[in-house]
């Protein structure tokens, strides 16, 4: 691939930069035409190379060439997380394995995770989308990005890393945790940009203050925070704590990771990279598209991914889209911060947890009564999860030691399967709320960050 061309990095109208000014400010009609052209190519790729999609389209009586306008999208089949699981590990790939240069996987799931594959070109495109994200916050060659996202199967760490290198800034792959070292590197290396989860940014700000560091002691200027839902109130706290502009970024591993949508310095919604993804908002019950501005489930179709084209992937995130022009000069639609989920997935410290997974663990322990409750709360900025189980006569023995052993056993089982530290609380029989119909299994006491 060639390096940055002269068309890269032009100022936007909000104090940031556009990495790909032409693509990022494409007039709406041209963007729509480009989307249709790429959608047809995407369908060709999926139809020719992914048996799952060939079958789906055949069943629907559709051919890739049938799509000629945006409205035709609504007639195309959806893809769900279950579809991805069913084709684990590489059954959804549209390229032979020798053309796949990298595989990532989703976090915190029982059984099979969902995998995501990239060709060399996919990695380059991903890098461009992250470079757009960073540039929108004013990051340019010469900046130093402290990348405190976790490195590994999770897409955050390597995603930001390659994007920062593509942009041409210095990247410090410090990964998550070790707060002392984070602060030392931030000061000694003179980091000007930070990427990490919003809760960790908040934590770093507090830790800096506790050590007598003032925001003006740190040269850091801008932060990129995603992988967790957060509010504008938390933004203000992060910004005050570290003396930065804190920007929201959005992505999901199924779409390739971060870089799907990003905020400009207007901080008024996340610009969807519409030349690479088509975003739709649907009613999660009727599955029909909703009018612009209404809150519904976010659905994405990939337009440029070679290795893993996904058609109308249901993210389960609830948000709205606006096509209104943004003061920064980008022409792309903006998505609101996700306000919830259309399924019951919990995000516990960045790990995706479904209550059904906890139930499976509990039900595998024969002594446990079929009544339980999951209580999620937040201590400081960290999520804590409690699992309440009733002590029936099968569990109850004579000594505290027996009860404590039982508690530890359940905690260990949950940790083994879900990789989360849950506190198991023993309750008296009949004290966990029963309900007539669907039991209330999850109590989420977290107020929005």
């Amino acid at each position: 691939m060639s390096g940055p061309s002269p068309e890269r990095l032009a100022p936007d109208d909000a104090g940031g930069l556009m990495w790909e000014p032409v693509a990022e400010s494409l007039p709406t009609p041209q963007l729509a035409a480009l989307q249709i052209e790429r959608l047809r190519a995407m369908l060709e790729n999926a139809y020719a190379n992914v048996p799952f999609y060939r079958k789906k389209l055949d069943q629907a009586g559709l051919k890739p060439g049938d799509v000629s306008c945006h409205d035709d999208l609504a007639g195309l089949p959806f893809t769900t997380k279950i579809d991805l699981r069913d084709h684990y590990p590489f059954g959804m790939f549209a390229r032979p394995r020798d053309q796949i240069v990298r595989v990532h996987a989703s976090s915190g799931t029982t059984g099979n995770p969902t995998t995501v594959g990239y060709t060399r070109a996919d990695i380059d495109t991903w890098g461009d989308l992250i470079a757009r994200t960073l540039a929108a916050g004013g990051v340019k060659p010469g900046d130093l990005l402290q990348n405190a996202y976790g490195y590994g199967l999770f897409t955050g760490g390597l995603g930001l890393h390659f994007g920062a290198e593509r942009l041409g800034c210095t990247v410090v792959p410090i990964s998550g945790g070790n707060t002392e070292r984070q602060l030392k590197v931030m000061r000694d290396f003179g980091a000007t940009a930070l990427s990490c989860t919003p809760s960790y940014a908040m934590y770093l700000g507090d830790a800096a203050r506790d050590r007598g560091l003032r925001p003006e002691d740190l040269p850091i200027r801008v932060g990129f925070h995603g992988a967790e839902p957060w509010t504008n109130e938390l933004r203000l706290q992060i910004e005050a704590g570290l003396g930065i502009d804190a920007l929201d970024i959005y992505g999901l591993s199924e779409m390739g990771g971060p870089g799907v949508a990003f905020e400009c310095l207007c901080k008024a919604g996340m610009h969807v990279n519409e030349d690479h993804y088509i975003a739709e908002i649907i009613d999660p019950e009727t599955l029909r598209p909703l009018p612009e501005g209404e809150v519904g489930e976010l659905v994405f179709t990939t337009l440029s991914r070679e290795a893993q084209p996904l058609l109308r992937y249901r993210t389960r995130d609830l948000c709205s889209l606006t096509a209104a022009p943004c003061a920064c000069g980008r022409t792309s639609a903006r998505m609101s911060k996700p306000i919830g989920r259309s399924d019951d997935m919990l995000i516990i410290r960045g790990v995706n947890v479904f209550p059904s997974q906890i139930e499976e663990v509990l039900m595998s322990i024969p002594e446990i009564e079929p009544h339980y409750q999951i209580v999620v709360d937040r201590k400081g900025y960290l999520d804590v999860i409690e699992v309440w189980v009733e002590v029936g006569e099968d569990i109850f023995a004579e000594t505290m030691g027996d009860l404590e052993r039982f508690q530890r056993l359940v905690q260990a089982q949950i940790y083994n399967v879900l990789n989360i530290q849950a506190a198991v609380k023993l309750k008296e029989p009949k004290t966990i709320q029963r309900s007539e119909g669907k039991a209330v299994r999850v109590v989420d006491r977290r107020t929005a960050l």
Partner: protein, 137 residues
């Protein structure tokens, strides 16, 4: 000479132990001895009562988790060295004691978070004992 002990699982909630005592008292069951364990969130109450079967049914029906076990009860002479002589015999028999408490009581002692306030509120409602009164028992 085994004695049946009734154990009850209780969450640490104010008034929960009183409920157990109320239920038994109302049914004419006398508590001959009991002990509680301390833990942050829950505990075990061990009871020696005049009618264990009836007590267990009663508590079970009221929604408590209960358990029966067998314990040994021994008379201890109320004099200096009285307890020591009994424990020496237990040790000589090679038995190791999992837990121990005294029964056939007329007085109890317990710890609370705010002792001053508890004393203030209990005064006149129960017979509180002074340090001297306890030494003279």
């Amino acid at each position: 000479m085994k004695v049946t002990q009734l154990t009850v699982f209780l969450e640490n909630r104010s008034g929960r132990l009183a409920e157990v005592a109320d239920l038994l008292g109302a049914a004419g069951i006398n508590i001959r001895g009991f002990s509680t364990t301390e833990a942050a969130e829950y505990g075990i109450v061990r009871l020696i009562v005049t009618d264990p079967d009836k007590a267990r049914t009663l508590l079970h029906d009221a929604g408590f988790t209960t358990h029966f076990s067998q314990v040994i009860c021994v008379r201890v002479p109320d004099e200096p060295g009285g307890l020591a002589r009994v424990l020496d015999q237990v040790a000589a028999a090679g038995a190791s004691i999992d837990y121990l408490y005294s029964i056939s009581f007329q007085n109890i002692c317990f710890a609370v978070r705010d002792i001053e306030r508890a004393i203030e509120l209990l005064a006149g409602k129960v017979t509180l004992l002074s340090d001297e009164e306890v030494r003279a028992l």
